[in-house]
């Protein structure tokens, strides 16, 4: 298989994997299988997948350095945009049903109140806002235009991920196991990026020498 075909296949798999939870959610919605509190179910499920894809997008860089494969880097944009799509849907359910879009004036007042008074909504909204310019500038054109600044701008993913996890931790009533699992994974992913070359170098040297076939090397 040519490198181009391989990359195409990897992207197709990401699309299928990322669209499946949404398809299942739509199937549940259409068949009335969202449980006693359907709006909450939609919000929770979309929120869960937002965080999962956000964390997955952060796994790809360490995966590349640990494995030596280059294809994970080529998938970051697709995974990141899917994460943002889930975040937008999650936010949309809140706007439409929690704030009640049928009464826009009151909804706006309620949004303002929520943003000021409810810290978990403040940080969730901030995460969405931080990721907005990233989604807009995700195209090749913007990447070329912004040159080095593009990389700096896209470091916003780190605070956005922290805020996203905090959003989850703060809305849970008591049982923190799940949000703390996300927090732990995020902590590992962020610590990996911490500038301590000695530690990272040691881990990378300790891994078995890559045995990837030659064709993988050409996949860039």
């Amino acid at each position: 298989m040519s490198p181009a075909a391989r990359l195409w296949l990897a992207r197709a798999l990401v699309w299928i994997g990322a669209a499946t939870p949404l398809a299942l959610l739509i199937e549940r919605t259409l068949n009335g299988r969202l449980g006693a509190n359907p709006i909450e179910f939609l919000e929770r499920d979309l929120g869960d997948w937002s965080l999962r894809f956000l964390l997955l997008s952060l796994v790809l860089t360490p995966l590349r350095s640990l494995s030596g494969w280059t294809w994970p880097l080529r998938l970051r944009r697709t995974v990141g945009l899917w994460a943002y799509a889930y975040i937008c849907l999650h936010f949309a359910v809140y706007i439409v049903f929690d704030l009640n879009i049928l009464e826009p004036a009151r909804a706006l007042a309620q949004l303002a109140e929520d943003l000021v008074k409810r810290l978990y909504i403040t940080v969730g909204f901030a995460a969405w806002l931080f990721l907005l310019p990233l989604a807009i500038t995700s195209t090749d054109g913007w990447q070329r235009r912004l040159k080095r600044k593009w990389k700096t701008l896209h470091r916003l993913i780190y605070p956005a991920a922290v805020l996203g996890v905090l959003h989850y931790v703060w809305l849970v009533k008591k049982d923190l196991r799940e949000p703390l699992l996300y927090a732990a994974i995020l902590a590992v992913l962020l610590l990996w990026r911490w500038p301590w070359p000695k530690v990272r170098g040691a881990i990378l040297r300790a891994r078995p020498t890559p045995t990837a076939p030659a064709s993988d090397q050409t996949l860039r």
Partner: protein
């Protein structure tokens, strides 16, 4: 009283599909291999699925015996009842798990017979009563109450039970009985999630004696005319409709009269978020979310929350109290 008139149609009872088979129809279809891709795909999502309506997963309560209800009172402004399936599949009962669908899945291990309730503390006639002895002197009545959870969702439920005051008076509380404390059962053998220690157990709740003696305070042994399902707090639970749901202790094993304000579970672990009173109050927000509105299960949009959950008759209990301080 309900008078049953036999229907005129010719279907004999023997021809009707037994409830258990009807409730099992999805599993039946699945076994027939007709459920198809829907079920196969469902395994891909690890979001916890709510139990499908009418599925056999929560089957046992379909066979719960009917109760002899002497009187029915509508006390929720004629609002639409929350369907039985939702009332029994969306529960907060942390002893059986913290997900709303967990109690319906896990509460089958709760043994509700034999069951004794211990009554002690500041009273002249304490004792250990077998559940049937405890219930027997009381005529069961149905009351339709609103239920407002502190998490800002709500239901309308036809409970079956009797006034709490009638029960408490039997034990002759003395002049030092200023409060009543309720203890839920805490048996790790029957309640698998107790070991996780999300809350300190046993679950404890409490009322001021005048709140407990208010005619709205209700001891519940059933819902929808049938025996209370385990996940809803069988065999006997409290219902104080003007307070957030956490005040209404489930599966009560002990009642104690006290002179000082007793410790209550949520208040003990988070006093800033859960007060001793727990009265429904749209003016006083939970520190992390608003209490001004609620999501009534079955409705798409939120609706305004009413003071005392729409039971203004309890307001005199709190005359002169700063309800922002005593939340």
């Amino acid at each position: 009283m309900l008078i049953r008139v036999s229907p005129q149609h010719p279907i004999k009872p023997s021809e009707i599909t037994p409830e258990s088979v009807h409730a099992d129809r999805r599993q039946f279809l699945a076994r027939m291999g007709l459920a198809g891709a829907g079920l196969a795909l469902a395994g891909c999502s690890d979001a916890k699925p709510p139990l499908p309506s009418g599925s056999a997963a929560a089957g046992p309560e379909a066979a719960l015996p009917a109760l002899d209800v002497k009187k029915k009172t509508e006390m929720a402004g004629n609002e639409k009842l929350t369907p039985y399936d939702d009332v029994t599949r969306y529960n907060n009962y942390y002893e059986f798990g913290t997900d709303k669908a967990d109690p319906a899945r896990n509460a089958g291990t709760l043994r509700t017979r034999p069951w004794t309730v211990a009554i002690d503390g500041e009273c002249d006639a304490p004792g250990q009563l077998d559940l049937d002895t405890l219930i027997k002197p009381h005529a069961l009545e149905e009351r339709i109450y609103r239920l407002r959870c502190v998490e800002a969702w709500s239901m309308v439920i036809p409970w079956v039970g009797f006034p709490l005051a009638d029960l408490l008076k039997r034990f002759k509380p003395n002049s030092r009985a200023k409060f009543v404390q309720f203890f839920s059962l805490a048996d790790a053998a029957q309640m698998p999630m107790i070991k996780r220690g999300v809350l300190p157990y046993p679950y404890r709740e409490g009322l001021r004696i005048d709140e407990a003696m208010h005619p709205l305070a209700f001891m519940v042994v059933g819902l929808y005319g049938k025996v209370l399902p385990n996940q809803n707090g069988a065999p006997i639970r409290l219902m104080t409709p003007w307070k957030y749901g956490f005040k209404s202790a489930k599966s009560i094993a002990r009642i104690r009269f006290t002179e000082t304000q007793p410790e209550t579970t949520w208040n003990a672990i988070g006093a800033a978020e859960y007060g001793f009173y727990g009265n429904v109050n749209p003016e006083v927000d939970h520190p992390r979310w608003s209490q001004a509105s609620e999501r009534r299960l079955g409705e798409l949009f939120r609706k305004p929350t009413l003071p005392f959950n729409g039971y203004p008759e309890v307001a005199p209990l709190y005359a002169g109290m700063d309800l922002r301080r005593y939340y």
